[in-house]
């Protein structure tokens, strides 16, 4: 800023102080008003994007910050989806209450899984989480009298009943998932600059060193896993209520666990907004390639998807958030000047 005029330098801090909150308010307003201008199908894409952004952010706590590559997060998602739906079917309990029961059950599962596996390193942990999620999926298939087995469960159709998480208009589902996403992002943000966050990053970078300087590694990792499981289960509840139908394949499969992780990786792990960016790129891409190519060339869209994943990992292993946030800072600076 050599040779910048002196008077304006006095003005900059004042406007700069307003620009951030102001743009946040503008973004929030746009987020609140925009869905009313969408037709159902694009709105659906937006909702799925927000859902995967939320689940990816929850995964990021364990998979990103703590560096523990879980490939079993579908287990927590499924626990949330199944608990809520079963409580609603058998006890007529509103999903608004059931969702917390599902989240707490997921926490119990996370403590169990964490206790059993979080002493394991790297690929051992990844495969152990796959095994746990698979056992849960197979048990769900096996206990068909209770869970409906492979037939799955349908959420009873009640018409427009907001107290039962059912809305005639799609836009309300949008507000629910937007709230959930903002909640999760806020939690991650807070965590990132808390003692837990610093511990996790230390563990994620080098666990042995972290333990040597007094970080209680296993306890911290279990804490992260329970937090992540809690939030993932809430996403599962939303999924069940929004799609109306769950079965072991759709909410407990390995493919789903992989997708949560993908969103975070493509966007950028260990960052607050990485998973959101990842979801914003991948979900619409999936939906649009599906719409454009799905009916003609079977499999093409997944080839594109897989190739993109490979390219990101080889060329931008830190995720796409890097360049995007650089552009963002540059823009901010330009606004300030």
């Amino acid at each position: 800023m050599r040779g910048a005029p002196v008077p304006s330098e006095r003005v900059i801090p004042a406007t700069a102080r307003f620009i951030k909150p102001l743009s946040a308010v503008v973004v929030l307003l746009v987020l609140l008003v925009a869905p009313w201008f969408f037709t159902p199908y694009p709105l659906h894409i937006v909702i799925m994007t927000l859902l995967f952004a939320a689940a990816g952010s929850a995964w990021n706590i364990v998979g990103g910050y703590a560096g523990q590559l879980s490939l079993g997060h579908a287990a927590f998602f499924g626990i949330g989806a199944y608990t809520t739906t079963l409580l609603q079917i058998h006890l007529k309990l509103s999903p608004w209450i059931g969702m917390w029961a599902g989240a707490i059950l997921a926490v119990v599962a996370a403590v169990l899984i964490g206790w059993a596996t979080l002493r394991l390193q790297g690929p051992y942990f990844a495969i152990a989480t796959i095994a746990f999620a698979e056992v849960l999926r197979l048990m769900t298939l096996h206990l068909r009298d209770f869970t409906g087995g492979a037939v799955g469960l349908t959420v009873p159709y009640l018409g427009n009943r907001p107290w039962y998480f059912q809305f005639e208009q799609k836009v309300y589902y949008y507000y629910v998932i937007l709230t959930l996403l903002l909640l999760i992002v806020a939690v991650v943000r807070r965590m990132a600059s808390s003692r837990l966050g610093y511990y996790l990053i230390a563990i994620g970078q080098n666990e042995i060193v972290a333990e040597a300087v007094g970080v209680p590694a296993v306890a911290t990792k279990i804490k992260a896993l329970t937090l992540s499981a809690f939030l993932t289960a809430l996403c599962g509840t939303f999924y069940a209520q929004y799609i109306y139908f769950i079965d072991p394949f759709s909410v407990l499969s390995l493919g789903l666990s992989i997708e949560f992780a993908l969103v975070a990786i493509v966007g950028g792990v260990r960052t607050v907004w990485g998973p959101v960016l990842g979801a914003a790129l991948l979900r619409p891409l999936t939906e649009l390639t599906q719409a454009a190519l799905g009916a003609t060339y079977a499999g093409v869209q997944l080839i594109v998807y897989g190739s993109l994943l490979i390219l990101v990992i080889l060329l931008r292993p830190e995720g796409l958030i890097g360049p995007v946030s650089r552009i963002y800072t540059r823009m901010m600076r330009r606004l300030e000047v």
Partner: protein
Amino acid sequence: MRWRLVLFLLAAVGMMVALPTAAQVSEIPVGIIYPRTGELARLGETVVQASLMAADDINNAGGIKSLGGARIRPIVADNRSDATIQRTETERLITRYRPVAINGSYASSLTLVGTEVAERLKVPWVTGSIADPITGRGFKYVFQVSPKASMFGKMQVDFAAELLKQARVAGKRKVAILYEDTAYGTSTSKGLLDRSKELGLDVALYEAYKAGITDAAPLVTKVKASGADILFPVSYLTDAILLIKTLKEQGVNVVVIGGGAGYLMPEFYQGLGKLAEGVFSVGSWNWDLPYKPIKDVAERYKRRTGEFIQEHAGEGYAIMWIIANALERARSTDPQKVRDALAKTDLKPPHPGAIMPGGCIKFDSTGWNTCVHPVMVQWQDGELRTVWPPNVATVKARLPW
């Protein structure tokens, strides 16, 4: 020269005015949503092909006459064998193309999801899926042309009793039921158990197994241990082939009465050859049913795809004609009116839509086709033939004992 130019311009303007209005009435979008990729793609694609063929047939026969010969425009969507994508694709199909009706999705779990969406968006959905809940939810916009899952088991066990009677074998009363842990297997096997008990047969084994086995030997050992005379396996193609091969390998002598699905596919015979001979199965449709339009359809389908037309494909073909018939009577492209017309459907042979076993197509208040029943088939000399019940049988069953 100049008047020619004027005439040309006039003609051009006239065409520009005429074209869009003509297009509006001359093409009626009908949704066709099936798995074309993923695990269920194999059969999904056969239904798509048969449905497209039906659309061509309808258009070649003059389209929808009450709408000025309007043509059916099939809109094909792929749900990738995935319930979540089924939700998306159904919604996209409906909001983007405004179809008057949807033909979909053979696999029951996918149909259950798709119809949830269609019910909310008030578009009629005609299906060949068999799960009982499809028309058991009090929905107004769903029509099921096929027999229900709960009827399959009864048909199989009754047929087994008939075989035992015809063969006059004494002391063979032990049956084993082995079903895959999928929606299809779970929903059809209950009827097998109930009916076997009703008829006083001795159920020596009744168990689910994990679909997609890598080895059938442990299952076969289990069947062998049960000492069953008749085996009712419900499985998809791959498991079915492994099971039959391994039964032979371990020298287990049971009569196999398959639960549809894998037992009806061309690959079943290709994969097993002579071993497939004599294997029975239940099915919701077959290519040799004694209804007049089927013969021609089956031949043209074979020319088009190189294989015989399978049960779901046959249903898909019928569904397109049933929708066309409803359009004809509705005289409208309003999905609501088409739905009302569908509810009043009453078709009999030789209408190309009335080719389901039982002949007629008539929906009850839940949307289920009350005329229909499952059929029993047997692999005979490389062909899948209908052998029971008598009203649709085209050849005699070859007795196993």
